[in-house]
Symmetry: D2
Subunit: 327 residues, 4 copies
């Protein structure tokens, strides 16, 4: 065999990067966010952000979705006295995959809890576990699938009329702050079949940030190193283009919504973005564009001393708020 082929293969093993097939985790399926006042929250999430209310349950939780999502819901709001994220759930390809992953989690030291069918309206059984950073994750295989909002599955129009606010197309990912990034890396790569698409490393080789994907998106979940466990940085929603990021920025201003930063671009993933806060203090992102990732792509690495540019590509410096305001 030609030498360059041997070199390619050798290089891969030296990197300890073995390309693997995915293990059946498809995408971020939902996130449950705690809000302090439901009416105020709904005004934010529906009128401004533009999510669509699809259901409420007996506990008072409200179910929301974005218009391109075929499943019933992607965001659940729960009213309580402390903001933050309760959990986020990933949809796997079928019930047998769910079982297999459940078994593997239990075997490898991640005890799971079963949340029964219907505990969330229209959602099948969920398998919940804690990541090493303290965050609660779920896997599920079944959810009611009413299809895209306002669009026929037959001869579908380009987009539905009647969208509100920022008109996000989907719940894209969440970014979480926590301590044990190496632990999460092992969980997400070895058990759940994610890839490490991007990372920030310090001079000692410690990871300051990891961006993980189970698709060709630049990130399906991301973690940033932080002393405390189980902190929520933001939930992120996808916009169609940079013009819509401007429109989002304008709406943020018109509604006197607290802005964090943007419109700008990230260095990491190169997405075009804006950050703002919901009335409970939870951070939201809407963004568009950015890089794609396949399993054979090398991990993109940013050096910690370029962290400013990695996070905010244009300003090339961090604002204190982005690093410290968490829920």
């Amino acid at each position: 065999m030609k030498r360059w082929i041997n070199q390619i293969i050798k290089k891969r093993f030296n990197q300890k990067r073995i390309i693997k097939m995915r293990k059946g985790v498809m995408r971020p399926g939902h996130i449950q966010i705690r809000v302090l006042d439901m009416d105020v929250a709904l005004s934010h999430y529906c009128d401004l952000l533009g999510l669509i209310e699809v259901d409420r349950d007996e506990e008072g939780r409200v179910y929301l979705k974005c218009w391109t999502e075929v499943d019933k819901f992607s965001v659940v709001l729960r009213e309580t006295d402390e903001a933050g994220m309760d959990f986020t759930g990933y949809k796997v390809i079928d019930e047998s995959t769910l079982e297999a992953l459940e078994n593997e989690l239990n075997q490898k030291g991640y005890p799971t809890t079963e949340i029964p069918v219907g505990e969330l309206n229209g959602c099948g059984r969920r398998v919940r576990f804690k990541a090493p950073t303290g965050h609660s994750f779920e896997l599920f295989a079944t959810k009611e699938q009413p299809g895209k909002w306002g669009i026929s599955p037959r001869n579908p129009e380009a987009w539905p009329r009647g969208l509100k606010g920022m008109r996000p197309t989907r719940f894209d990912h969440c970014l979480l702050y926590g301590d044990d990034l190496e632990g999460n890396l092992s969980l997400f790569i070895d058990i759940l079949g994610f890839d490490l698409a991007e990372q920030v490393v310090d001079p000692e080789g410690n990871k300051a940030a990891i961006f993980l994907t189970c698709s060709s998106k630049a990130h399906d979940v991301a973690f940033i190193k932080h002393d405390e466990k189980d902190k929520f940085h933001h939930a992120s929603f996808w916009l169609e283009n940079w013009q819509d990021v401007l429109r989002a920025a304008d709406l943020i201003s018109m509604t006197d919504t607290p802005i964090d930063i943007g419109p700008t671009r990230h260095g990491l993933t190169h997405g075009q973005t804006i950050y703002f806060f919901d009335p409970s203090g939870n951070r939201n992102e809407v963004f568009c564009g950015g890089d794609y990732h396949y399993p054979d792509h090398p991990t993109v690495t940013w050096d910690a001393d370029e962290l400013g540019k990695a996070i905010f590509y244009h300003d090339r410096e961090l604002n204190e708020r982005f690093l410290t305001v968490l829920t």
Copy 2:
């Protein structure tokens, strides 16, 4: 178990749609296009379309790539006296996946030919086979991976300076015309693990067009029903946004390049697009945007009597040229 869950599962089986894990085919990896005059072709593909020349071989073939592609090349031009596509190749996740698919192809009636390592510069062994529509496809697992063009893998900038022409980011897919769409459907879904993302069906239920994906892209290959076998409709390249589609249209006009249609939007996939011809008469597309697909998404169906809108969403009628000019 709750009734709606049973209904979801029942509905799936009634549709004869069983969600399966992908089988390790990652993405369109290359296409070899026949051109009548290499110098003239290069002026088109490099200066106008904006591909980057990366190599030439002893046979006189020229290797091109788009800037975001980490592999060595994605387009190979071969000078000969008849335009068209020689073959298109898909990258699989590793050599053992390649072997497994090779075996399965042979067992299921698709005899394969092995193309040795290095027959294309920098490419590992390829497994070639004919689809029922007569088109030549290849699978391969290994290709030199110099990384994105003009971009460091460490602290990467947003895009490289010095791009030319339309600045496409990647070879996205090809659209092929042929007779036996049902045969191709079986090949691509059952053996290669693709999904049927979109289709056009006539009143009798015959498929007039099938759009297949092995990722979350709306199509990684597409076929349109046609009496002849092995016809090439177009190779398609990804642009970043609708503004770049306008820029491409302007460049087409400035260079007196024959246009087919655009800027416009497709109904199928809802991509935003423009079509034009290379100097040999091969059709090219550059496009952006459009829908995404996950394995659990229902197939999007267009009725054949809406074919005009399915193909050209704004004009809602086909131009004769689009249907009949093939290479």
Copy 3:
């Protein structure tokens, strides 16, 4: 004086182009369009095109405006049994300018009719006259000025929430077909103080199209040579950007509105555009971008044998419909 200065001055006079100060005509102020069915027309002009209804009068006419316009209205719809344009009016700087222009028109062979204050709700007296091409034009100096729609004049937001349809920002110009272009040229340049921004000329030097401006816009009115007098080609409205042209195209398709052509770019003025028809058969344009013109700018000239590219820059050929369907 240096030689190049003499050359500049000489060149100007050779061109018979004397740069003159404007004569107080500011902008297109309104257009009265005939429609066959008012309810159907309002659905088109308000829900699809996105004009805002501001008033109705005893004759049943309906008054519309775009959101950035400070004056009360810019479009008047009149129901009758034949489509077309009744007249279009230009706002001049004040009542004394109106009087001066009225006198000059009468002296130079353009007899005027006075339309009294209030004949159009909220509009001062209008001076009406026929152009050599048979079209009815008006000048006026006073119109109620309620300000931009939905926007405070103090600390104004970027745009109002609640806009519908294509969200045009202003009535921009109309394009008219008629026979005596030289006559109109003399009227608009010598009396009304417009500039000839762009033109199409045939090999004999006859003008096939003239684009005239009283501002720095590429055209405030345009005429195309045609055998009949007094034909209406289209009324045009301004969009903010190319993304909005796509959005307009999508809306045209979603509402099954007859399209003429687009999205595309013009060669003349280089605007980015789409054309469609109202339910009475009147053509509408929405567009963005394009060139600007100052009084010292040379006239841009297109040769008649490049007319296809002049009109449709990307296709480089005319569609028959664009040339022949008039109201």
Copy 4:
């Protein structure tokens, strides 16, 4: 006459706003900027900002222009040991207008200096005077007019190939800081025929900022109240769209150019913008979009306590740097 017409007229006089015809000042024609090192400056202004070098003179000054400008140059760089603006010049409609304005300036207390033909290469005689804020302004009527760069005046393409950097289309305006805003207001409105398009006023009615126009642009010059005389805040260049603002932001980052703020939108004028610094510390702006102004439009007013939002519409707070870093 109807009552509302009387009210309109009365209201105008109460506002002490008398709509007047322009006095023949057309546009910002040039700005002379002082730079500390010419080679470094040219790398910034040509390679990054994308101006085109068109000439140099015996004094070592370098002449630049943007591609849509028909006149020979719009920016002159002069190497010296202190950054800042030497002067900015406005083009008037012809030499007799220049003479008339020269006479009026002298009569009304603005002594003028004549700069002879050719002192700037290709420029006719200039009439220079000091504004009450201490800034040097010029009027001129004649400049060589080679036409748009890279574009034929006959059958012109949409844009020239070969543009570099941010590809600005024109020098748009400058913003200056100084003490006597009321003096400048009188000079620009009463003598030069500008309109006050926008203003910031404090609770006592004092003007904190004035945006003046001699066209339908939102500003052809702007002044902000400041204790010192003759300070230069920025020179601004026009981009085609918001996508180009992102591209400019990316280029700023890639070239490690100091950024001030952006991409963002202004409240004043609603333009979409980014600010950065040349290597000498002079601030540059590139922007697109925003409002338009006609002579009969009321002045848009921002309250000083909304200054943050007036300047940076999204952040709604000023950065110290924007207010204090001047040259």
